[in-house]
């Protein structure tokens, strides 16, 4: 549940333009402002190519905005390592075992490796990865790889998790199972989530609030509070409230495409 207090992440008027060869620069994001509160679950939905991934890259500190500011409560703005970023592809390093992949963050951050490994081992069962600590990534299924990537992200121990379409490449069944599982995991975490997806139902079912982004140049079109009680069950998806929210989201998304 979101708690009161200052947001852990605040974007004000963030724009991003890329120089294009032999033409005007490409405007990927225009004047994006959003806030993520402590322990909030926020989704960002929008058509593909609306700059969602670009936005996450900016928040992760991988690139600098052309204008505007990104404030992260935890540390200096614009630096890397302040948020836990899970890119679209699982990006498990093929030469590392699952456990070594999961503890990459501690290794890079110069943390206590033995402690990180111990913690990772303890978390393996709740990530459905028990007995796979020494497995190389290519031996794992798609769902397991995503869970391993999420374990790596969680083990970074940040106040904000940025998840970029983590279930985009999975089949519908695996996807549904992982959504439920993600909620369980998140409810035990002390972290806020900024979740990028183009799946409206997924966004509604998981989130406290949903931001709708427009087509390029991406900007925020709608900030929709979800207001469904937690913990949520699958049955919520069948309620009239859910249907009404879904309709509002779809209207906002489709208004933009026409």
């Amino acid at each position: 549940m979101p708690a009161a207090g200052p947001p852990v992440l605040r974007l004000s008027g963030v724009s991003k333009a890329y120089p294009a060869s032999g033409g005007p620069s490409v405007q990927a994001l225009r004047d994006v402002s959003l806030e993520v509160g402590r322990r909030e679950f926020i989704s960002l939905v929008g058509p593909s190519g609306c700059g969602k991934s670009t936005l996450l890259g900016l928040i992760a500190g991988l690139d600098d905005p052309s204008a505007g500011s990104i404030e992260i409560a935890a540390g200096p703005d614009g630096a890397t390592g302040e948020v836990a970023f899970m890119p679209q592809r699982d990006l498990l390093l093929p030469w590392r075992s699952l456990l070594d992949n999961a503890t990459l963050g501690a290794e890079v951050g110069g943390g206590d490796r033995a402690a990180a490994r111990k913690r990772a081992r303890l978390l393996l069962p709740s990530f459905g990865l028990e007995g796979f600590a020494d497995a190389l990534p290519h031996t794992l299924s798609g769902g397991m790889r995503q869970r391993a990537a999420l374990l790596r992200t969680v083990l970074l121990d940040r106040e904000i998790l940025l998840l970029d379409e983590p279930f985009g490449a999975l089949d519908a069944l695996t996807r549904a199972a992982l959504q439920e599982w993600l909620l369980e995991i998140w409810e035990r975490l002390e972290a806020a989530v900024l979740f990028v997806t183009h799946d409206v139902e997924e966004a509604l079912w998981l989130s406290d609030r949903v931001y709708v982004m427009t087509r390029r140049p991406g900007s925020i079109h709608l900030d929709l509070p979800v207001g469904l009680s937690r913990p949520r069950t699958r049955a919520v998806r069948g309620t009239p409230e859910f249907a009404a929210l879904k309709q509002r989201l779809l209207d906002a998304l489709l208004a933009d495409t026409s």
Binding site: T80, L91, W95, H138
Partner: protein
């Protein structure tokens, strides 16, 4: 698996056996003089006879090849890392590296003999020169082609350049490095032999020259066979080491075949 492997090598073996058989028949039926073209059996007998003399020459050539190869590997590593890490180094060294390949390295052997005498040094240098280029180019290419998303992931965790290099780029470059190292391994022995042709006190090149100037053609063939076997052995040694340090490369390709 074994039947499968047999089926794979059988055609090449059959062709080789046929060629050797024809060679044997022609030399016998046409009574070709031994100094002109000895038959395979004569060569095998000559090999057995000269084994005591061959052994120390082989050891010397192998030593030159291995030391030169090691030096090339070390230097290639430094140069490829420099090219990868510094734009200035890349612009300064890359063109030189490519144009240096227009110089026939083996033609430098007489020069090296003038500068460094007839000891082991010029042989090691010629081997190092011949092996350096394929290793440096393959390693630099492997570093350049490392997955940018994986690099971004390590950066998003707060990783610095050195960590991106050691945790992502270097391991990602290993498959490419290994293929360069295999090519270099197959060059190394012949480079040492050519170095010895210019002048040496020991080595297969010297032994071969002596045999050919006294028309001991069977012995020349025996030396050629030893050179071929050594080259293949070094090639396979790199392959074995590769499988040991980078097992994930091979697992992945075997999986792709099934």
């Amino acid at each position: 698996m074994n039947a499968h492997r047999l089926a794979r090598i059988a055609p090449a073996t059959a062709v080789l056996a046929t060629l050797v058989g024809v060679w044997e028949l022609v030399t016998r039926l046409a009574a070709v003089p031994e100094w002109l073209l000895p038959s395979p059996t004569v060569i095998v007998l000559e090999f057995a006879d000269s084994l005591p003399q061959l052994a120390p020459h082989t050891a010397r050539t192998l030593l030159e090849a291995v030391i030169g190869y090691g030096a090339a590997l070390l230097l290639a590593f430094v140069v490829a890392a420099l090219i990868d890490q510094s734009g200035l180094a890349r612009r300064a060294l890359s063109p030189l590296l490519v144009t240096s390949q227009t110089i026939p390295i083996f033609a430098l052997a007489p020069l090296l003999a003038i500068w460094f005498g007839f000891g082991i040094t010029p042989k090691i240098l010629i081997v190092a020169l011949a092996c350096f280029f394929p290793i440096a180019v393959s390693l630099a290419g492997g570093l350049r082609n490392a997955d940018p998303d994986m690099q971004a992931l390590v950066r998003s965790m707060g990783g610095n350049r050195r960590q991106v290099f050691s945790k992502v780029k270097l391991p990602a470059a290993i498959p490419s490095l290994l293929s360069g190292m295999k090519i270099a391994a197959s060059y190394s022995v012949i480079a040492a032999v050519i170095g010895e042709w210019v002048g040496a006190s020991q080595g297969l090149g010297l032994y071969m020259l002596r045999a050919s100037s006294s028309f001991q053609t069977a012995r020349v063939f025996a030396v050629i066979a030893v050179i071929a076997v050594l080259s293949v052995a070094l090639f396979l040694a790199v392959d074995v080491v590769g499988r040991w340090i980078a097992p994930w490369i091979y697992v992945r390709t075997e999986e792709a075949q099934t």
